[in-house]
């Protein structure tokens, strides 16, 4: 079943083959989690957003049109879920306080993992300083590995705008990082 296309799996799932939907989840979960974690900054929130996204896709099985655009559809749903999770976190001040006080949990980690974690956290801090429209494009491109065309379809933007946001975002991020090191 792993050799079937996303569209074929969706049609099988619509026909009641549960296993087909599980294959779809396993095929795309890593990419979704990576994007959601970069946007939301926390693994537990990323897991919630990605699970909800898959659940929403399941709810729309009946209306899904097989046109070879499953990835775009899935990431569009994920963007909505990330927005919703983000809003819920902002509403819940206590949760926000917990985010700020996220423990370092470095005690039992080898040096290289500690360094990798610190590098990632630093980068995420810089990413958060970018405007949302630049951040989303950078995350979809580099964490999600999506093409310019796919990003354009997900965000409903012309490819030219995707490219200009991407390079503007990279340049701003580089300046922020340079400012920190210099």
């Amino acid at each position: 079943m792993g050799e079937l296309s996303d569209d074929e799996l969706m049609l099988l799932a619509r026909g009641g083959v549960d296993e087909a939907f599980d294959v779809l989840v396993r095929r795309h979960q890593a990419g979704l989690l990576k994007v959601a974690a970069k946007l939301l900054g926390r693994v537990d929130l990323a897991r919630d957003a990605a699970q909800r996204a898959f659940f929403e896709v399941y709810r729309y099985l009946g209306q899904y049109q097989a046109r070879g655009k499953f990835r775009q559809f899935l990431y569009q749903v994920l963007m909505n879920q990330c927005r919703m999770v983000g809003r819920e976190v902002q509403r819940d001040k206590k949760l926000q306080a917990r985010v700020a006080a996220e423990p370092a949990e470095n005690a039992d980690l080898p040096d290289e993992r500690i360094l990798a974690r610190e590098r990632r956290r630093e980068l995420e801090q810089f990413l958060n300083k970018l405007s949302k429209k630049l951040r989303v494009v950078l995350v979809l491109r580099f964490a999600g590995g999506l093409s310019y065309q796919e990003i354009g379809e997900i965000l409903e933007l012309p490819v030219g705008t995707v490219k200009s946001r991407l390079f503007s975002g990279l340049e701003k991020l580089r300046k922020l990082m340079k400012g920190k090191s210099g």
Partner: protein, 265 residues
């Protein structure tokens, strides 16, 4: 060659420069240590952006997703209590809104029925189709009397009543009786797809896909066709032949929402 600009280094890393320019940059990089270092910094940046959160390794979403599917969804957030005064104001606003909505809906319904030139069909009361036009780079806007030729269309449907319809088709017919299909997808004449299954007891259920057709300028009728059995595209196209523009498709056990718009060049 002068130092390569920062933006061009990113373009080079993304494979977005021409082959000829890439060869020039390769040549320059061999000779220029400063640009090599600048390239390394940018390459490291892209790698860090792609680096996953270390705690994501081995995470499997299938059990959680299955649990959500079995339980029927995400637990709703607890409702917050509002002060009594706010509740009263809220009720008044809601009442005023409902009255306004009733008038607006009644007016639109009347217009739709008159424009189609047909009698009221009881079954049509329980279904509805909302169409939204989306211009390039714009946000969706409710489709009213006009749309631009290049607009995408998005849809949401309502399917209520004691016995909601299990199948739906969305199509558009122009003044020359040319038919364009939105749902089901119909891009090849070799296929003859059927109606899509839909949910019952839903209001404003969104169909996520944004679809564009190259319509001829002029009047256009958009049909939401709700049926008990799945129909094939070819069957509906036969029924549409010889039908007056915007007329009701002669299908006994069906409900239809017909909306007229005008495509502008």
């Amino acid at each position: 060659m002068n130092a390569i600009s920062s933006q061009e280094l990113f373009l080079y890393l993304e494979g977005e420069v021409t082959k000829r320019r890439a060869a020039e940059i390769d040549e320059h990089l061999v000779a220029c240590r400063s640009c090599r270092e600048r390239l390394q910094i940018r390459r490291g940046m892209l790698e860090s952006l792609a680096e996953p959160h270390e705690d994501l390794a081995g995470l499997d979403l299938v059990p959680g997703v299955r649990k959500l599917i079995e339980s029927g969804g995400w637990p709703a957030e607890p409702r917050r209590k509002l002060p009594a005064v706010s509740v009263r104001i809220g009720l008044l606003v809601a009442l005023a809104g409902a009255v306004a909505l009733w008038f607006a809906t009644a007016e639109k319904e009347e217009f739709r029925i008159k424009s189609a030139g047909k009698a009221v069909h009881e079954q049509d009361r329980w279904v509805g189709l909302q169409a939204f036009r989306v211009g390039e780079g714009e946000k969706p806007d409710s489709l009213e009397g006009r749309m631009d030729r290049g607009d995408y269309l998005l849809f949401a449907y309502t399917n209520q009543g004691e016995k909601p319809y299990p199948y739906m088709m969305i199509l558009a017919v122009d003044a020359s009786n040319h038919v364009r299909w939105f749902y089901p997808a119909y891009s090849s004449e070799r296929t003859d797809p059927r109606s899509i299954p839909i949910g019952g007891n839903v209001t404003g259920a969104e169909l996520f896909e944004k679809i564009r057709h190259d319509f001829a300028p002029g009047p256009l009728w958009i049909y939401g066709l709700f049926t008990r059995k799945p129909l094939r595209v070819s069957e509906v196209e036969v029924l549409l032949k010889g039908l007056e523009p915007g007329g009701r498709i002669p299908l006994k056990d069906s409900a239809q929402h017909i909306q007229k718009t005008v495509v502008e060049p």
